[in-house]
Structure formats: C-alpha cells, structure tokens
Amino acid sequence: MSDFFLTAEAEPDEAVKLALRRIDEAQAAGQGSDVEGLRLNEVVVNMGPQHPSTHGVLRLVVTLDGELIKDVIPVVGYLHRCKEKLAEKRTYFQYIPILDRTEYVAGMNCEWAYVMTVEKLTGIRPTRRAEFIRVIVGELSRIASHLVAVGTFTADLAPLGTAMAFYTFRDRELILDLLEEVSGGRMMYNYLRFGGVRYDLPSGWVEQCRDVMKRMPKLIDEYASLVDDNAIFLQRTVGKGVISQQDVVDYGITGPNARASGVELDLRRTRPYSVYPELDFEVCTAQHGDVFDRYRVRMDEMRQSVRIIEQCLDMLPRGPVQSGSLRAPYVVTPPPGSCYVGQENPRGEYGTYIVSDGSRYPYRLKYRDPCFCNLQLFPKLLRGNKIADAVSISGSMDLVLGGIDR
C-alpha cells in the first residue's frame, strides 16, 4: 500500500510518454498543427480505463487537435488475468470454466473453440446429438452477445440514451433463461465436454426454445424500428470509421467487422465445423464497412441465427449426448503435438492453439482473440475523426476486454 498515490507530479506512464514524444517528432518534422507558434495546440487526453463508453477497461491515450483526433494509443492489459499461464496448472478438463471468462459475453462459443481443439488433438468425436445441441446453444449465445453489442452501442450514441439497451437486455434475458435451464448458469456455463455436452436438454425445452425463436424476429424488427430511420443515428454512423478490404487483409480483421466490408469470411462456411455444412443460412455482409454497416450486419446475423436454431430443433436427432462413458471427459491426455482450431465467435475468429506434451496438463495454450486483432486497427480508424466518434466507432467494433487482455 506504500507508493500507491498517483499524484499530479507522478511520472506519466509509457503510453503517455509515447504520445508526447510523437507530438514532438511531428513538430520537428514540420507536420504538427502548430499554428503561428502556438506550442500547446495539441493535447493528450487520457480516456479510460474507467470510461462509461469504452465497454470495459480499455484505455485510449488520445492526442487531440481541437476536436480532431490526431493519434490514438490503445493501452490494454487492465484485465490481464494470466489465463494462459493458468492453463499449465490445470488439467484439460479443469480449464473449461476459465474459457467462459475470456469473452464473457459469449462464453458458450469460447468453450466450443477450446473443446474442439482438444477433441482434434485427442481424436475424440462428439455424438451427433451433442453436435446439434452445441450449434443450438452456440447460436443462442451469439444472439445474446449481439444483443449486448447492439444495445450498448446504441446507448453510447446520444439520440436514444439507453432506450434500445432496455429492449435488448429485456430480450437477452429470454435467451439466458434458456441457457440457464440447459446448463445451470446465466453467463458462465461450463456446459461443453470433450466428446459431448454435460446435460441433455431438459424436457419441454425444445418447445420453449421454439417459442422464443418464433418471437425473436419480431423483436429484432422492433429494435430496428427504433434506430434505422433515426436521422441523428444515421448521421453519427453512416460513413464513419470505414474499414477497407485492404485493412481486413493486413490486420486480420474477422467476424462481423470484416463482413461489413463485403468480405464473405465466416468460418462456419469457409472452414466448416460441427454440423454447419448441413444447415442452410446466409453469410450476412454489407458493402461500405462503416459503423452503420457493422451494426446492420449484427442485426442480420441475429435473424440468421434464429434460422439456424429453428433448423437444428427440427433436425435434432435422438441418442446419447456424450460419447463413451459419462466419466470419459474427465481425464484427457492428448498425444504430444500442437494444433489450432478456429471457430466463428460473435466477434470473429476465436481459436485456441494448444501445445501438448502428452500429460494431463496443456503445455502451452494460446488464444487467438478476435478483439485483440480488431483493436489493432483502432488508431488507423480513429485518426482524423472527431473525439465524439471515437465512442461510436469503439462501440461498433464490439470489444470485449476479457478476451483482449487474456
């Protein structure tokens, strides 16, 4: 507790120093916005880690020229919880709950990516019923995640306040109820197992799910009717923060952020896993790659997820939900080797790279997190925009810091 106080005299940290240094370099190179010898034209503003609009503990060190953003230095790591190191001390089975807490808004999908990697390493094959259940819960989780994304994003934009978030969070509860009945948890599921899932669907669940899915398209239309023709919303979103296709290639942007730029990159189609090849759905894309398109792609994807879930409920086969005995997944010892499997998370390609040394513990586990890759593009997107647009652009990128910071 000793040297805890950060007083005004405290040394600025590395990121702030870098921002100040860049200003000096720009001045020296004659590119500064120094008008008529005004030395203090550019201001370094610290945004976060506690900021109502950065969705978690993202910190941006912003260099402002008036209201225009000259430069941005994102600072991450305020939620670094050592998850990659913890993998070395936990068995493959014990590690499943930690996955829920990486991208905590879509825990089910993260578990799925990890479980698929271990299954590929060991050669376990899940049963067919389990595959369908995984698709159903994964897509439910995707809808819930997009509801949070869309709700908080519109809450950041002035015209509506939290109005839309009230609607999206209201309906997110319907989905959390379904997931809770299946797994026992509202957000942290710990549901998927190597070779299957933990529990079979409870009785009556299928009808309940069908019921919610029947209501969902109308609810999505309701959200769209709130903002799609709102002049202020359109002014703040259309044409802002454009991601070009070259950016997608250079920076490895994935998920809705890439698809909004017209790239048909969806791992459910391009690197099909589970039973997705048997299902009929569209890859939602948009043309312009701006903030509005990213919002619209998410709305469309929710509709497609509803379609997928309805098909799965119709096709749901009978049978066991766990291959082998129920105790089979508890001790898993993959042969030595390494493997990476990517999976389409609501935010993009989420995957785990696992190096196994043949023991019960992962030798090395590394996440490929979509938000981490998407956030890299941030300085480029924000440069030249107004400071108020930083909020809408960061909202449209749908960042979850639990994933970025490991």
């Binding site: 507790m1 000793s2 040297d3 940290d13 590395e14 870098l18 991450v76 790591g77 670094h80 050592c82 990659e84 190191k85 296709q245 997608v248 290639v249 250079d250 920076y251 490895g252 017209g262 790239v263 048909e264 990159l265 391009t270 690197r271 390494s338 493997c339 990476y340 990517g342 390609e349 790279y353 190096v355 090395r364 590394k366 490929r368 981490f372 890759c373 956030l375 890299q376 910071d405 490991r406």
Partner: protein, 164 residues
Amino acid sequence: MGLEVGTLKVTMDEIAADLARDFAGDLEDVRIQEPDTIVARLAREKLKDVARRLKAHEDLAYETLNFVAAVDLGAQLESVYHVYSWRTNTWIELHVPVPRAKAEVDTVTDVWPAADWHEREAWDMMGIRYLGHPDLRRILLKDDFVGHPLRKDYVDLAENHPHV
C-alpha cells in the same frame, strides 16, 4: 473490389508440393495437418525473406497473419506464425526456433502489419525480442513488471505483487 475466399481450388498435397518446390532449402519438415494447415519449420535468419516471398507468392499468397504464438520448449523458445491464404483458404504454421540465451528474431511487422501487437505480446509474455519492431513495449503487463511470466522458469517475484 471483391475479396473472395478460396478462389483457387487446390488440394493440400499440391500446396505442399508447391511449397517444397519454391521454398526448397528454406522450409524444413513440411507436413500437412488435416484438414487445411501446412506446418513447416524454418531458421530465424531466413524468416523475413521467406515471409516476404510467402506473401508475394502468386498462387498461395499468404497475406493475413492470424496470430503469433511464443512457445517455451525448454531448451529453446519458438515463435509460431499462423498465416492465412485467402486464395486457397488454407493456413500455414511457421515454427521458428529461437535460442534461449539470445532470444531475438527479426520482426515481420513490415510484411504483415497485424504482427505488431502479437509480437509485443510475445515479447511481454515470453521475452522474445523482435528486432526492428517499431514499438516493442510491454502490452498486457504493467510497464515495470519484472520477468516474462510464460517462460517455464519464471518464478513469481514479490516485486510484482506490491499489494499483498
């Protein structure tokens, strides 16, 4: 402009044969990891050159860096690059061994811009120094953290825990 996935239909064997032909002497131990990944090893001196040629390859065009993983293999470290080819819709996994005593390897940020943060993370966690990186600072840990925690010989130091 349309960026499409998998426009070039080739089998994994053909890709492996292409790589063996065009990168003979550079890529070692080329093998296919089903269903869609090529795994290869290369020396760290050749990394930058091979990376450039992989990106500029007319058929395969490995254009997007997916992630960089640093692995501690005990005797040596390893920097693993996972790169995506849009044209063939396949991946290549490059394993670059890095000696423990002098953990340095050339940066690939000028080839694949996405490498920037991934290399910073590998430096932060594993202590691999990427030569020529524009801004090699710690990324996840605080600036004054001591040590590189993902190394197997890392011991938890008291100075990293001022609040116990």
